[in-house]
Symmetry: C2
Subunit: 129 residues, 2 copies
């Protein structure tokens, strides 16, 4: 919070165990990057590190902090998005089926895969226009 | 905004076309519920309607409104969650594989399915504790 910066590494299928572990422990108590075999990289844009091993990372400048009760919500401006070359589509944009992000089921605390494309947004509903 | 209330219907596989349509048009211009064949239900808890046809609905009291630039962020307190009986698991909690929510890919504007359970949260990373 003092650094007004944070990064978000997208938890993905290949790093599920690592993502779960860094969510369980606090960086105040243990060097969790080292324990999970993650490599901290110093961001050139914001004053926060990110893990080299995650295929997609958001670097954020902290804009707002909201106390919501049991949680504190941090709202940031994304100043850069870094994606592994191998996770990009032919059009150069991030490919969700290559990144394989985890979908979190809060009710049953489960990590799910992203399934196949079902339809295009701003498109499948157009027949009613 | 004046009513300090909103509802969130979870877009699901069976209502993809409806969800896409109501995201394209504005309720100021057209009775989008009627066009999409959705039934508006008056919430008993907040001053906003929801669509009967969505399997999971959140009824929210508006707490904060944040101007973020191209978007306005609304933060609400969820005062009730309504889920169709048929979308509940044996434990009485919402079952993500029965609700079949859509996962949105912003990069390619695609609606994806939720895939299979890969692991349990606060569990798969425990071996490093």
């Amino acid at each position: 919070v003092a650094r007004k910066a944070f990064t978000v590494g997208i938890a993905c299928e290949g790093k599920m165990k690592e993502a779960d572990y860094v969510g369980i422990v606090s960086g105040r108590d243990v060097d969790k990057f080292a324990v999970a075999g993650l490599t901290p990289i110093k961001s050139e844009l914001v004053d926060a590190p990110y893990a080299h091993e995650f295929p997609m990372v958001l670097e954020c400048r902290l804009l707002h902090t909201l106390e919501l009760g049991i949680h504190t919500q941090f709202i940031g401006e994304i100043v850069d998005v870094k994606v592994d070359q191998s996770a990009l589509g032919e059009d150069g944009l991030p490919d969700i089926l290559k990144i394989k992000p985890l979908v979190y089921d809060t009710a049953h605390k489960g990590y799910h895969a992203v399934g196949p494309l079902l339809g295009k947004a701003f498109s499948v509903g157009k027949e009613w226009l």
